[in-house]
């Protein structure tokens, strides 16, 4: 069976990340994910899109940001593409900072807190850059109910 696939494209404005989040929330309705897993996926995508806009594009509008949402039999794969500033590979190898805590606002904005969120909410997180195209890959395994 071939994968189901849809590409979402927005301009690099932070207020557009909400659109992506809501669309992904809708898409998760098609998957065997419970409410918590769907919420985690939405959170990861919004966090990843926000990071891409702020880091890769320095919060400048006018750049294209694409996201591939691909459903295979046993997993969901989301790839977020940008052509902005490439992430330092060392940052991904850095051990996670402590995850953000509700009662500690300082922990919400740690430099690596976004990575901690992605790793906590998704099963696999990868990043690579080829020919100026940066790709952040988020994967979640699906268990049919």
């Amino acid at each position: 069976m071939s994968n189901k696939n849809i590409t979402l494209t927005i301009d690099s404005r932070l207020d557009n990340s909400r659109l992506v989040g809501l669309a992904v929330r809708g898409l998760c309705q098609l998957l065997p994910l419970d409410t918590e897993q769907a919420g985690q996926t939405e959170l990861a995508v919004v966090e990843a899109v926000n990071q891409t806009i702020t880091r890769a594009y320095a919060s400048e509008p006018g750049n294209e940001l694409s996201l591939d949402f691909s459903v295979a039999e046993d997993h969901l794969e989301i790839q977020i593409y940008d052509t902005g500033t490439t992430l330092d590979p060392g940052e991904l190898e850095t051990p996670d900072t402590a995850p953000p805590r509700l009662d500690d606002p300082d922990s919400w904005t740690g430099s690596n807190s976004w990575l901690a969120i992605l790793r906590q909410t998704m099963d696999q997180v990868d990043y690579y850059s080829v020919g100026g195209l940066n790709t952040l890959v988020l994967r979640k395994y699906l268990v049919s109910t």
């Binding site: 849809i6 590409t7 979402l8 301009d11 557009n16 659109l19 809708g26 898409l27 309705q29």
Partner: protein
């Protein structure tokens, strides 16, 4: 100020539901509109593109642009396949007639429906006014 997001799928019927659910998710931003009507109209429009413009042949693109402005929601469905043989009618066909229900079904779901062509691109534009 407008908000805009673009969805692109390959012309396969099993991708159509993805567009429908993505648009359904965005309906959280327009609680005054009937989300099921919007989903039905979009699914019908994308189905038309896959089945009629591309004759159910995979490997082609269907693009859906969702755009919300102060006065309403506009959803443009574009394909680069065969153009429609005729305008989308508001009129339901006779019971014995095969096909022809997509147009009237979409008309029941939206306030305005336009079809236009720009070179090879054919766009079906659905509009819902915000009350």
């Amino acid at each position: 100020m407008s908000q805009m997001i673009t969805f692109t799928i390959e012309s396969r019927l099993d991708n159509v539901a993805l567009v429908g659910e993505a648009v359904m998710g965005l309906c959280a931003l327009t609680p005054q509109l009937d989300s099921n009507q919007i989903r039905v109209a979009v699914i019908e429009g994308v189905n038309n593109a896959v089945l009629h413009a591309y004759h159910n042949e995979p490997g082609h693109l269907v693009q859906v642009v969702w755009c919300l402005k102060d006065d309403g929601l506009r959803i443009d469905i574009t394909d680069w396949g065969e153009p429609l043989a005729q305008e989308l009618s508001r009129q339901w066909p006779d019971d014995h007639q095969e096909g022809g229900r997509g147009g009237p079904l979409m008309w029941t779901c939206v306030d305005e429906l336009h079809w236009h062509r720009d070179g090879e691109a054919k766009t079906l534009s659905l509009r819902k006014r915000l009350a």
